[in-house]
Symmetry: C2
DNA sequence: TTGAAAGCGATACCAT
DNA sequence: ATGGTATCGCTTTCAA
């Protein structure tokens, strides 16, 4: 059987007018029944529902929102860094769930850290008249977001701060979390500690490095590598660091892919039990590796929930000043971060 | 600064009419310019673009599709099992990328293996007039999908087969892949092998079990556990199996969460080097564990791409008979599946 | 080449 | 309580 656009008389093309005619009522009455407006005689309502069923009527949300006074589409859009990243997908899941409770759908796309892709996405989403936007911004001075704000679409920046007044934000305590983890390494005797981070354009990358530097000011003993954005790049850089005359006794990573890359290099060199490693952002199976990977864990579900709440408040008419929500991180000791410096070993 | 709906005169509420008036041209001309229809005098077109820029005009894709002859919304919808699952998010990513190339957006939602949630999602998506649907069906006789087909929205089922004529499908060779892996265990001397699988309502769960049974017919030596759908459940079941008088010498898992649960139990019992484990579906870091986890790997990106292709062909007017695309799996030996049976050990 | 006008499917006002 | 009708923002004839 072929899959055609119009294979049966039912479905496509059946409008409220058709339903009204078949039920022998006015167009407005059908609209009331479909929208569950009270004040329609029960028997009429039943007749309408029957006609709708017979004809295979399907409500057109598109036309509905066009005519509606509030112009709502009951859709919010989500611009992530990469849907396939576990952090992003946990965020998406939390937001989608929160939205579903209100009967709101979620559109999403990946910017891949590319400002022009981000711009395209924001443009497409506003063209589709999303009621609101939740964005993981690619940059601090974000053009795409500025455009959306001018257009008037409520907007929440999540995971990263942005230099735009009046934008609600949700972030984690990147600096404090990283500093606390670094302090633990310091207490365990580490003095030669390498920091591997993401691209400096990303706000979180700056914050985390700052937290690290609070404990280990950058110097010859504390090499800093930035601009790492894939497992392979981090793995390669870690191999280089291990091959240097005075290799670090510990690594701090600013991102989960980097953490995995470093760990991969350590395992290849057979050093995972001798060199400490702490990563920012938890990842699945970190606890099943031996030794387990200690991390500064974020709570992406919580982040998403707070972002959704902020956005929904705006959708509900909140016109107050911008709010900034900071979600705490949590250090999870699994072993790799608890390896002491050689000097401190018995 | 407050975040209002209408904080500047620009943006919201600016229609083509406004642009037309400011540019001193007709409404139709603006429409032509915006849609890039050739045949407008260059100077007029420039005037229109300028007016649009000045007023902060944003095209309304909603109204556009309503009036357009083909009624296209340039949106396809995706019903996944759980966006947060790596398999699902890889699928989503591949489909979103393929769609983006054609200027198509992707709506998505998670059914959580719940038929009524699936139904809601399909309903919402068709109400939003998605041009097409890609669904990971929760059941074989899927009501939600039947409804969508009657409505006439092109539909592709991915990952799982469905008892509905005329529906395009993309799956992997579940049975063959599992049988091949089981055969390897048999060759390595294993005779007491446990199979842990997902809920029997899921088509893939049946297929994979069938593949296992092709090599190890179900009997006392080959216990089968079904209905496992979380890491915890699998872990618990694995502990039980290990505590039995004659524990299996190998495990075969029908799903990635189950694989992880079994592995967790093995590590807790200190048996990960003595009892073999092969899982269906690869997962991140499977190679970093010691021993690495051998898997029957699917290629979710490929699955998504094929599904998108099938759907786009329908959108392009293909009315041919339903097509079924089968993507091959690949066994990846990492160690856990290569542990020989004790009887076969020197 | 350009513009006026009809109408996509639904909502909301205003009569009845 | 119910129905007629103007209208949402846009595309698409059809005339000029």
């Amino acid at each position: 059987m072929a899959q055609g656009r119009r294979q049966t008389g039912a479905g496509r093309g059946v409008t409220m007018r058709d339903v009204a005619d078949r039920a022998g009522v006015g167009l407005a009455t059908v609209s009331r029944v479909v929208n569950g407006v009270s004040g329609v005689a029960p028997e009429l309502a039943e007749k309408v529902r029957e006609a709708a069923r017979d004809l295979g009527y399907r409500h057109d949300a598109t036309a509905s929102s066009l005519r509606r006074a509030d112009r709502r589409t009951d859709t919010v859009a989500l611009v992530l860094e990469d849907v396939a990243n576990p952090f992003s997908s946990a965020l998406q899941r939390a937001i989608t769930d929160a939205a579903a409770e209100r009967g709101i759908m979620v559109l999403s796309g990946s910017s891949d850290e590319n400002p022009s892709r981000e711009r395209d996405l924001v443009e497409t989403f506003t063209a589709r008249r999303a009621d609101g936007l939740i964005v993981v911004p690619t940059g601090r001075a974000d053009d795409a977001l500025r455009a959306a704000r001018i257009f008037g679409t409520p907007l929440v920046a999540v995971d990263r701060m942005v230099d735009l007044e009046g934008v609600d934000t949700v972030t984690v305590d990147n600096r404090e979390g990283t500093a606390a983890a670094a302090a633990r390494l310091h207490a365990a005797g580490h003095r030669r500690v390498a920091y591997f981070g993401d691209q400096p354009t990303i706000w979180t990358a700056d914050e985390r490095l700052a937290g690290f530097s609070d404990i280990f000011p950058v110097g010859p003993a504390t090499p800093v590598r930035r601009g790492l954005s894939s497992v392979q790049a981090a793995e390669h850089a870690a191999h280089e660091a291990l091959a240097s005359p005075e290799p670090p006794t510990a690594f701090v990573s600013g991102q989960n892919l980097i953490t995995i890359g470093i760990r991969r290099a350590l395992q290849e060199a057979g050093l995972e039990h001798r060199i400490a490693l702490v990563g920012f952002d938890d990842f699945p199976l970190a606890d099943l590796l031996t030794p387990g990977v200690s991390v500064i864990a974020q709570d992406p579900a919580r982040l998403g929930l707070e972002a959704a709440r902020l956005l929904f408040a705006r959708l509900d008419g909140d016109e107050g000043p911008a709010r900034h929500c900071v979600v705490p991180t949590r250090y999870i000791a699994r072993g790799s971060g608890e390896i002491p410096a050689p000097s401190a070993r018995p």
